[in-house]
């Protein structure tokens, strides 16, 4: 009867999906026939990317790129992973540097070493390292980078008679001073929702969360440098001189607007965020190099930054690499990315190019904005990302939220992150060493 038929249908469908799921991924193909028109799909979240893409489409009628605007974040990467698993990933996708190892590990990002031999010289070594993952292969073309610097309200600093801190010790003292002079305000806030921000701060202190030795991963999320940073901020938060609200919330926006947050350790793409969220504070902010751990040092970390990767299953890898190379190195393209997308290009030529000749509108008061940014960018520490950064980042959010609400030491939150990272890697069969 119908029940039996349904059962049969179920069995057949299940069987088919089991078979299909068990099959290894198909081979990739790349068309080298330049005469037929190629259609490429590109998933990205850069604002106004369609305007940049249309420049390419106009000049290259044979290779047509359609950009789809996506949301940024972990679930976006999962979409790409799932789509690749199902056999229909986009040809190109934007991948943050810390997500690349996950993409490579899942065989989603293609190795484009062949096609990118001449591109390496466009980028600084530290940046290029993030797309080679320390191997011979190349998994993406760097698009933008996020060297970190300190943003501060110059007008409020003048009003309260504050000086820009050059070391973290000075920063701590300054935080206490701010609380005295303006009890409603804080110097800045510690966010439990932005692991990339914290990672950049740890990088500045010299942390190396992942490293490779042979075919073993070494995981050291709780190394001395990271613990130092965590305890430093934990102390500030628990004594109440630094606020503890997450960033990128309406509450935080309000604080930026009404001056109850005087400074923001952020990255070079900060002007876009500030002009979007606190338009009325235009011209009141300035940047300075990040406070240093030791006086006289000159180091910083990075927050964010992404690359353009090509799907291993794409049928037009060559064409896709052509587009990706153009997008991230061609002067016209990088110019458009800066002016339309508001990113800071990783391409060295673009960094001293005409689009960055004058400061961003929002920082019209600081004419040396971009020259300073470039100087700072050159001091950014290199990073090796591990294969499960998403796990570490997820753990950060919960561990630090808990540490904040229970007013406990931040150092233990770091240990939680370490444990979560190592456990996850071991579960998947990685060989992991610690310490």
């Amino acid at each position: 009867m119908k029940i039996h038929k349904a059962a049969k249908l179920l069995a057949v469908t299940l069987g088919v999906s089991l078979l299909a799921a068990g099959c290894s991924s198909g081979s990739t193909g790349s068309t080298t026939n330049t005469n037929e028109k190629v259609e490429l799909t590109f998933w990205t979240w850069v604002p106004n990317i369609d305007k940049v893409v249309s420049i390419w489409n106009a000049a290259h009628p044979n290779i047509h790129v359609t950009a789809s605007k996506q949301a940024q974040g972990d679930d976006e990467m999962t979409k790409v992973l799932t789509a690749a698993k199902a056999g229909n990933p986009p040809d190109l996708f934007q991948a943050e540097y810390q997500a690349l190892p996950t993409m490579v590990s899942n065989d989603v990002a293609a190795d484009i070493k062949k096609q990118t031999a001449s591109v390496k010289s466009h980028f600084a070594d530290g940046v290029w390292q993030q797309v080679t993952l320390g191997t011979d292969s190349v998994y993406g073309i760097p698009q933008d980078s996020g060297p970190m610097m300190l943003y501060y309200r110059a007008d409020l600093f003048t009003k309260y008679g504050l000086t820009v801190p050059k070391t973290w010790d000075e920063f701590a003292t300054l935080a206490a001073t701010v609380r005295q002079k303006a009890p409603q305000s804080y110097l800045t806030t510690f966010s439990s929702n932005d692991p990339g921000w914290f990672a950049g701060l740890a990088e500045q202190a010299g942390s190396q969360w992942w490293s490779v030795s042979g075919s073993t991963w070494k995981v050291n999320v709780n190394d001395a440098a990271t613990k130092k940073v965590a305890d430093y901020w934990g102390n500030l938060v628990n004594t109440g001189v630094i606020d503890k609200q997450p960033m990128y919330t309406p509450e935080w926006n309000k604080a930026l607007n009404d001056g109850t947050l005087l400074a923001w350790p952020s990255a070079v793409w900060g002007p876009g965020v500030l002009s979007g969220n606190a338009a009325d504070t235009k011209g009141k902010w300035m940047i300075a190099p990040m406070p240093q751990w030791n006086a006289g040092d000159n180091k910083t970390g990075s927050w964010g930054g992404s690359s353009t990767a090509i799907a291993a299953k794409s049928k037009h890898i060559d064409a896709a690499v052509q587009f990706a190379t153009w997008l991230n190195t061609d002067p016209q393209a990088t110019s458009a990315l800066v002016t339309q997308g508001g990113i800071y290009p990783a391409d060295r030529n673009a960094q001293s190019g005409p689009a960055l000749a004058s400061p961003p509108d929002f920082f019209s008061n600081q004419t040396d904005f971009y020259p300073m940014a470039k100087q700072i960018a050159d001091t950014a520490a290199g990073v090796t990302w591990g294969p499960n950064v998403n796990v570490t980042y997820a753990s950060y959010k919960d561990a630090f939220a808990k540490a904040i609400t229970s007013k406990s030491a931040f150092g233990s939150a770091i240990d939680t992150m370490q444990q979560a990272t190592v456990d996850d890697m071991k579960k998947n069969g990685f060989t992991v060493a610690t310490g």
Binding site: I3, V16, T41, G146, N253, W269, G272, D280
Partner: protein
Amino acid sequence: MSTTLSTTPARRTGSTPGTAARPVRRGTALLPTAVLLLGALYCLLPVVWVLVAATKSRAKLFNSFTFSPSGSLFTNIGDLSAYYDGLYWRWMLNTALYAGVGALLSAALSGLSGYTLAKFEFPGRAFLFNVLLAGVLVPGITLAIPQYLLISKVGLANTYWSVLLPSIISPYGIYLARIYSAAAIPDTLIEAARCDGAGEWRIFRTVAVPSMLPGLVTVFLFQFVAIWNNFLLPFIMLGDDRKFPLTVGLYTMLAQGNTTPALYTLVLTGSLLSIVPLVALFLSLQRYWRVDLLTGAVKG
């Protein structure tokens, strides 16, 4: 026969023919009215807030007192329309398509299934019904990725079908339809039609559906809202942003990440505009919320 539900106390709907009309009473039940208005206020508060917030320009959104309106509503709507050249309106059309077609098909399927479960006795009836109901227990998150993988295997991923097809089966809709059929379709009518020699499908079309109509509209509305508000299914199924429904589209405007500001103003304006079609739908289909159990035959 019956008036729409209104504030006049005189006549009520849903009354059996032959019932004496209730005596007209003057005056107002003050306390119930007050409590209901309080409830209405509570429910409307965030909606009013969105309305006011959508009138503010980006700069003013975090700078002014929350409930003081500003004048930028049309500017905001203009900005929203300019976003990727009218992508928002495309999202709205997509959502109407997914919800309208999906709910229509779902109501049809639920109606047929509910009628069958209510009016026929056959072996396995209870079992089938329980299994169908158990479908309510499975959360969408669990199903999302497996559904996506299976839909991809037949090459339908990133198409309109990938969102429509899974939306058609609605265990809750079948349940509602069953309850409604049982109460609203008199068995005598069915038996009479059978005696007249009508085929079962004809009976369904000409006897069951008209009697069930308010119930079908209820199922339609329920599924319409469910699909309209659904986020996870279209999020995982669709890669092409021109096929996004409103929920996914608005989410991409919010989740811009660290390096770009969330487009609060656009999202709030977009949210406000997205509520309007639903409200219009409710109001226009409102009269079907009447429960008119009988078509003249004896109840039960």
